[in-house]
């Protein structure tokens, strides 16, 4: 039986329009938009999808692990409804300023506490602070090899073969097990959730641990000094005119040719 732990962060919807994005500069944090529920960071959903794909084809237990100050049950239940066997929430008011180092320590401790684990999956980076470093901390603390930016995995007897999205090609990399793998959007979106599975998931308990349960100690070495919305340089915009869209298209072509923009 293969045991997979998927580390999933819960974030403010990253697809929210820029015009609705607000920050509390004094407290250096974003203001969650009213009426837009939090959700899993999209790259972490890609990671969960791959864990579930493995489970579709072999005996495999998939556990989801989240860390945060408050972790909404409804979001965690979505992972169970999608097919995860278990969700563990490490939740504590102490985590209000948890940075990448602290997050990596809490996740690594929690994974150890969860028992046998063959593969740890995460997204390539969180959709909030775009840090892209927590995975390395977990791998280093658990002392396991790590392959980043996966789009797919082939699980073999004692190893995995990962197709990795480099910027100009796909690389094939083999790794020993246990291992940590990070996923990118090319791994595919999380499968759809049916209403019956969601209703069933709502009856399931979420395992909750505190900072104390995982032996958390404050470890941050970086301080956030400022958070601000940069001014967008509004460009002097030249709008192409025309009778209709087709006519505008013709005028655009004329502009390109007459101004030698090509």
């Amino acid at each position: 039986m293969l045991n997979v732990v998927v580390c999933m962060e819960i974030v403010i919807d990253p697809e929210m329009p820029f015009s609705e994005f607000r920050i509390d500069r004094e407290n250096k944090k974003p203001i969650p938009p009213p009426g837009v529920p939090p959700l899993f960071s999209p790259f972490d959903e890609n990671a969960l999808e791959w864990a579930l794909k493995i489970k579709d084809n072999r005996e495999c237990r998939v556990a989801v692990l989240s860390v945060g100050k408050t972790l909404p049950k409804a979001v965690l239940q979505k992972a169970i409804a999608a097919g995860a066997d278990e969700a563990v929430a490490v939740e504590d008011p102490l985590f209000v300023h948890l940075g990448p180092r602290g997050t990596a320590h809490v996740l690594a401790r929690a994974i150890q506490k969860m028992g046998r684990c063959d593969l740890v999956f995460t997204g390539r980076q969180g959709a909030d602070w775009d840090g892209g470093v927590v995975w390395a901390g977990i791998a280093e603390l658990l002392n396991v090899p790590c392959v980043t930016l996966a789009r797919s995995i082939d699980v073999r007897e004692e190893s995995i073969v990962v197709e990795r999205c480099a910027s100009d090609c796909i690389e094939k990399v083999e790794s020993q097990i246990p291992a940590l793998v990070t996923f990118t959007s090319e791994a595919g979106e999380l499968r759809g959730i049916t209403l019956p599975s969601l209703i069933k998931a709502k009856k399931r308990e979420i395992r909750r641990w505190s900072a104390l349960d995982v032996g958390y100690e404050e470890r941050e070495v970086v301080q956030l000094k400022d958070l601000f919305i940069p001014e967008i340089e509004v460009v002097d915009n030249y709008l192409i005119q025309g009778e209709n869209p087709r006519d505008k298209g013709r005028n655009l072509a004329r502009l390109f040719l007459d101004r030698q923009m090509l």
């Binding site: 990253p14 990448p100 990596a104 390539r124 959709a127 775009d130 840090g131 892209g132 470093v133 995975w135 390395a136 901390g137 280093e140 603390l141 090899p145 790590c146 392959v147 980043t148 999205c165 480099a166 910027s167 090609c169 796909i170 690389e171 094939k172 990399v173 291992a179 959007s185 090319e186 979106e189 070495v221 970086v222 301080q223 956030l224 000094k225 400022d226 958070l227 601000f228 919305i229 967008i232 340089e233 509004v234 460009v235 915009n237 030249y238 709008l239 025309g242 209709n244 869209p245 087709r246 006519d247 505008k248 298209g249 655009l252 072509a253 004329r254 502009l255 040719l257 923009m261 090509l262």
Partner: protein, 344 residues
């Protein structure tokens, strides 16, 4: 590691020359070394030695190191990590700079956690206190919607730098030096992953074309169907451009992943960038902001891209591109080819 005042740069080569990213790192590196009154070490890791490393001296490095070993011939993180640990011990840096490249974003966080020190990826600004006891950096967060400024007293800071954030170092042909070869004494047994090869798939040639193209035609969610890509390709063909897309175009399977332009895809800077059916999310704009001229074609006149584009066309993209293509063919003396798209 208090009192360390040097700058260590992870150098990369492209076609046997120092990469443009590395020259930028040497540019910011010289500023930081100046503030710290320290030296710049440039290190290059690989199998056989790259010929042009000596030019690192001309671009401002005080010492250029090469660590060559068969284990470093292709990218193997565990072996690269051992070599970089060795290099940090040798050069005593206050800051280690990587490019925001495939290797940089993979190696920098590993090295930081291995050394139990601070790490920051995708920095767009970076400074060191002259006392050499703290570093401050700025990076885009929340998909580029905000910028965050951080500081740390835990050094060395391991940082990767976004391309285009700093001016490249200038070349001084009078500055010459010997390349210092270091034996990393790598332990093969510690290499737990193995590079098996590249998959020469659909994206590879197209991807190189996209990065080098002077004209790029790019599609997004607003294309609505995969057939929209055919129309884009026709337009690109007529104006000698390459085709790319924003993340929804890739997620919908309309284009292969290599052609994604944006924060987590390619960052390009063509002369002309034509964004079709792209709303202009900051994640996407991070990949094309440096284009000389940005043209937006979108049916939604309130789309944010119109604030960032130099030329805007409001209208259904199919009709706009059909009109555009007709005019281009006419001017070029190419007979009309009829419609590739029936509008459905």
């Amino acid at each position: 590691m208090e009192g360390h005042r040097n700058v260590l740069i992870f150098g990369e080569t492209e076609g046997n020359r120092l990469s443009p990213m590395t020259l930028e790192l040497l540019g910011i590196g010289s500023r930081l070394a100046g503030a710290l009154s320290g030296e710049i070490s440039l290190v290059w890791l690989g199998g056989p030695m790259a010929d042009s490393l000596g030019e690192g001296y001309g671009f401002g490095a005080d010492r250029v190191f090469a660590i060559c070993d068969p284990l470093l011939g292709s990218y193997a993180p565990d072996a690269y990590l051992q070599a970089m640990e060795r290099m940090v011990a040798e050069s005593k840096p206050a800051v280690v700079l990587f490019g925001q490249t495939d290797r940089g974003i993979d190696l920098a966080p590993r090295l930081a956690f291995r050394l139990e020190t601070a790490v920051a990826l995708d920095c767009i600004d970076l400074s060191m206190a002259p006392e050499g006891n703290s570093a401050t950096y700025t990076k885009p967060v929340f998909g580029g919607k905000a910028h965050a400024v951080f500081s740390t007293n835990t050094l060395p800071l391991i940082a990767s730098v976004r391309q285009g954030s700093f001016a490249p170092a200038e070349y001084d042909p009078a500055k010459l030096g010997e390349i210092i070869s270091l034996d990393p004494s790598l332990e093969a047994a510690l290499t737990r992953t193995r590079f098996l090869g590249r998959i020469e798939d659909e994206g590879l040639p197209l991807s190189a074309i996209l990065t080098d193209a002077t004209v790029v035609v790019s599609g997004g969610r607003g294309l609505k169907t995969k057939e929209g890509i055919d129309l884009l390709k026709e337009t690109a063909g007529l104006i000698g451009g390459a085709v790319g897309g924003s993340r929804p175009a890739i997620d919908n399977g309309w284009l292969p992943g290599h052609l994604q332009i944006g924060l987590t895809g390619k960052r390009i800077n063509p002369k002309l960038y034509v964004a079709v059916g792209i709303s202009g999310s900051l994640q996407h704009m991070a990949g094309c902001m440096k284009s000389k001229t940005i043209v937006a074609i979108n049916s939604d006149e309130s789309a944010p891209i119109f604030k960032m584009a130099h030329v805007g066309v409001v209208g259904d993209y199919r009709e706009v591109l059909e009109g555009f293509n007709d005019e281009m063919r006419q001017r070029a003396g190419i007979p009309g080819q009829g419609r590739l798209i029936d509008g459905g």
